[in-house]
Symmetry: C2
Subunit: 493 residues, 2 copies
């Protein structure tokens, strides 16, 4: 058969299309949703079959969705062979896991290998993620899973004894500390080749926010050159295949939204090790609408991170931080860049909470440096920020990655007003994030929310609580509608 790319975006699911009347469907009893293997030019992939009568396929053609076409990497029109996939044997191990068995290193290797080869369907991936959910996976297994994930991806080597990194488990809008921490740490002289993700369900990821200022889609050669020259970078991690298993698992994990602790730890630590990091600081925000709601849970997580990190041969430090509300004022790429640059340039109106958190985290990372006396890191971080060295380092990183034209916040604005007088008691991270997304973030870089009041602030009835920015009138309508239906997102009492 001949390969025909079909422009359908299936979000990381390999789908192939065959005509209902093709010989293969008839002779081999291929049925919709079967798993099939497509082989061409010595390459192959596993895909889910959709059977079609649409005229977009000619006789003798096999259609590949965009993702599958990219994965296979052969030209349109290439000869291909399609065949039934043998049952994936490692799925038996997933069933064992679901029945409460403890799996060994080899089992995790086999599962992760099959996942990376796209042999797992969404249903099987879901079963794996649930099998790895809290309570079912012991700490040794988390280590096995982490190691298997590292083995199955690309691994970067910086030729240095110490490579530092940071990671936040997420969930707090506006929490853009990385863009301040990296320039401070790099200005001190440590190596911090930071790769970040784009938003999947949040109003902005670090890669989305950095992209307002500079190109983040770097080649490996760019990355090496910039880190060599500047000690740090702020790149999108997606193109380096550091943990290809994780990139696949995430497609079912996010919508599932269950507490898969082992999976999360393995995902984070495997990516850090694959990125060549030796010393890693993990930020766990704690608060009623954060991912982690109690200090007891944060402590349990911390111990797991430390245990698995040590077995992997990394130094992992974990800090629990204040996750009761967004950090800084802006939520959305352009608005967050504004906060970050205010902190880096020591602007008097820079959000104090963002600045303090960045200094704390940068200080903890600097404390990894053997030359520093324990606990001196925070003071050094302050010195580097105040002296303008961090700002200058950020300027150089932006220039090295390729600076972009400045962007303004979305021009369509509307203010959400307090309906009573009192004190702001709580702010709901989830609802603020949802509202900012409806306003257009992160796709529209200027869209989002600007928080004008934070927890503890006094507010008068009729005073603005936050300002919505949008780039399209329709989006402002969606965000405004959400706010009017969820006035509890800022609680006043």
């Amino acid at each position: 058969m001949r390969i025909r790319p079909v422009k359908i975006d299936t979000y990381r699911e390999n789908i192939v299309f065959l005509r209902k009347d093709c010989d293969l469907c008839r002779a081999q009893g291929f049925a919709a949703l079967s798993k099939v293997e497509v082989a061409s030019n010595g390459r192959s992939l596993v895909a889910v079959l959709h059977v079609t009568d649409e005229p977009f396929l000619a006789k003798g053609e096999v259609g590949l969705c965009e993702y599958a076409f990219q994965q296979l990497g052969v030209p349109a029109g290439a000869e291909a062979r399609v065949r039934h996939l043998d049952p994936v044997r490692s799925v038996d191990l997933v069933r064992k896991k679901l029945h409460g068995e403890v799996l060994d290193q080899e089992a995790y290797r086999r599962i992760i290998r099959d996942i990376v080869e796209n042999r797992y369907s969404k249903v099987e991936l879901t079963a794996f993620v649930i099998g790895c959910a809290q309570g079912f996976m012991d700490r040794e297994e988390i280590f096995y899973l982490s190691r298997a994930m590292v083995e199955q991806g690309q691994r970067l080597d910086w030729g240095q004894e110490m490579v530092v990194d940071k990671h936040c488990i997420g969930g707090i809008p506006g929490n853009r500390t990385t863009m301040v921490v990296v320039p401070i740490v790099a200005a001190y002289g440590l190596t911090i080749p930071k790769t970040s993700s784009r938003s999947i369900t949040s109003p902005a990821g670090t890669a989305d926010t950095m992209e307002v200022l500079a190109n983040v889609d770097l080649t490996l050669e760019d990355l090496r050159r910039i880190v060599k020259a500047e000690g740090g970078c702020l790149a999108w991690g997606g193109s380096f295949a550091l943990s290809p298993a994780d990139d696949i698992i995430i497609a079912v994990e996010r919508p599932l939204n269950i507490d898969a602790v082992g999976q999360m730890i393995a995902s984070i630590l495997s990516k850090k090790q694959a990125a060549g990091s030796t010393h890693v600081l993990i930020d766990i925000p704690v608060g009623p609408t954060a991912k982690v709601t109690t200090m007891a849970h944060a402590t349990a997580l911390k111990k797991l991170f430390e245990y698995v990190g040590e077995k992997m041969g990394m130094t992992v430090e974990v800090v629990a931080t204040d996750g009761r509300q967004p950090v800084g004022r802006g939520i959305g790429p352009v608005l967050e860049v504004r906060d970050v640059m205010a902190v880096l340039s020591n602007a008097p109106d820079a959000p104090a909470d963002l600045r303090e958190k960045c200094l704390d985290l940068a200080g903890r990372i600097l404390d990894f440096a053997p030359a520093l006396r324990g606990g001196h890191g925070r003071r050094i971080a302050e010195r580097i920020l105040h002296s303008g060295e961090a700002f200058e380092k950020m300027r150089r990183i932006v220039e090295a990655q390729g600076a972009r034209a400045p962007r303004e916040p979305g021009p369509i604005t509307r203010e959400a007003l307090a309906s009573s007088t009192g004190t702001v008691l709580a702010i709901d991270n989830h609802e603020l994030a949802a509202c900012a997304k409806l306003a257009g973030a992160p796709v529209d870089q200027g869209a989002g929310l600007d928080l004008l009041k934070k927890v503890g602030d006094r507010v008068l009835s009729g005073e603005p609580l936050f300002r919505i920015h949008a780039e399209e009138t329709a989006d402002m309508g969606f965000a405004w509608d959400y706010w009017t239906r969820h006035p509890e997102m800022v609680e006043i009492g």
Copy 2:
């Protein structure tokens, strides 16, 4: 937007297609794999979004896959509105179930209602099925689930005090007892409106096999008329929406292939109650390659069936049967029809194991009749079979449903030979089924296997063990190849 049917078969998944450049994708940030609600002419459905650049969609069109188009039931070109779906709240209950909580009747109602309305994605359905898997669901919950499933479907009423039925939990190739039991029981005078499924993963379901002889895709009026006249029928149950939730869940449950006992019991008993049955016999084959491998497991299942059945107000009897090997000789629709008709016509070469099993099961069902002394059923069943009354009843049912032209077994044949002399020690149900499917069953009605030796038979090296029948040369190749790679499917020692 205007509705455009897109001829893509997604096997019971609602998929809608929007152009990448449509206003909705741009303004509302619709992304691939989002869940959306499509509303038109006062009807609506929930679907997964695929974003496309293919020219099969014009501007202003929303594409619906075949399944979604049928579900929505409005004409092509109808005006439709597409919007983001609010999060499905009952998924929180599924998460609770996954974390080990016991759910109440109202929780199961909400979950099943959302599933029937197609609000669950494949990932969420998988989470539900795993949550219901063995060890997580108590017997009260199985009852709640069963009742919720009955409430959400169509329910048949035969206006009779006693309506009998039988069901086998499956897994044994060739086990076509229903086609003998129904005519015996109906000939006695009990009402047995049997609806069966088509094969999903097996080489033949009862509906596939009956379809060789007669039309099985009956309207509800046909069904009523035939049952009134003959006391029984052998119809395909798929068109009566007896348990629409089950029809949806099965799409993830089959590929998952985990031991979801609660789900299985609820699925079976809810369908029986919806079909109007009052007395049900459940057949649980036990054997090393059957679904149930130990008598202890069969007994546990039996107790659960009885408990839940009683709470639902049905009389449920459970028998454990010999599941060590296929029943009868033929595997595949035409070959199984040959065995069934041999038993019904009292042919001297009819497979004895199939005949005995059918008489046992029919006897147990006849024992439900209040007029019969306990334990006399089996003798009555024998009398009805031997007298030719059962054969005559089958002839009348076939005629009432619409008889079909006789079919011959697949003309391309090849015999699998014993590689050593000895006794047949074991036959692998799974592997025989896989081989029969590769030969083309059930799509090619004449394809399948004809077992020439059974467990306990003496066999000489070079003697045929079974004959493969196919209708296409390519299929014979696939089945033969499978046999050569799995010679252990018939163990000789």
